[in-house]
Amino acid sequence: MEKSTIKIRLKEKDGQIWLRALIKHPMETGLRKDKMTGLDIPAHYINDVVVEANGETVFSADWSTSISQNPFLFIKFSGSKGDTVRLTWKDNMGKSDFIEKTVGKR
């Protein structure tokens, strides 16, 4: 199996779940040029991120090229240990990935 592009950490604190995620992605703006060939590097970026807890969407975002390479995300939402959290991303080239994890488990 290929290694997931998403690293996720979930922590429960006072009835809140703290989600920290790091996604591996180039986030090309489409404004840079290849130094070797002088050709434009096409834009390649994540434009859709969704976080679901127990099947319900708690957070969704539209991103642009202004988000940094290998995006980092930190959000909080109410929940408890044992909740299943799922993070999905999609990019402008039709690629996508997701990760699913249960709060409180390693």
């Binding site: 807890a53 975002a61 202004s66 930190f74 959000i75």
Partner: protein, 152 residues
């Protein structure tokens, strides 16, 4: 004879590429710009496409960002909203080629706070727009980007 055809083809090909590079492609880009806020190239255009006429300045929105960023490729920005009923936080980096950076929507049970890293091409204003009960609130802060990393 063959040479003549070859020359003709060359002329056609170069004419076509000229047309592409100079102007033929722009109408489609302009068309997209009218509807997609992410393609807009100015803050005013972003607000217009999003349909935001008025945003009340609010001190209940807190933007945490460095005053001076040494590396514009990755600037940590935290936006917190203490406004009740916050459903959306929009992040705009005013001097970026495409200013709209992100639209973050919060569902049931989510705390309206977002922390992420954003690219900034040059010294800029970070504008946070918060949507709460169909009303918009705004806050902004300035980030100085020093490319050399030597301050200044």
């Amino acid at each position: 004879m063959e040479r003549r055809i070859f020359l003709k083809d060359c002329a056609l090909a170069s004419a076509a590429s000229m047309a592409f590079s100079t102007g033929l492609l722009t109408p489609s880009i302009a068309f997209a710009e009218e509807f997609d806020p992410f393609q807009a190239t100015s803050v005013d255009a972003v607000l217009k496409i999003l349909g935001i006429d008025e945003a009340e300045a609010s001190n209940r929105i807190k933007i945490t960002a460095p005053k001076i960023a040494e590396n514009g490729a990755s600037v940590p920005v935290i936006i917190n909203s203490a406004i009740e009923g916050t459903s959306e936080i929009i992040t705009i980096i005013s001097t970026n080629p495409k200013p709209l950076a992100a639209r973050n929507r919060f569902g049931k049970g989510a705390i309206p706070s977002i922390s992420s890293r954003i690219k900034m091409g040059q010294t800029t204003e970070v504008i946070a727009l918060v949507k709460a009960d169909d009303k918009y609130y705004s806050a902004k802060t300035k980030v100085k980007v020093t490319i050399g990393g030597c301050g200044g």
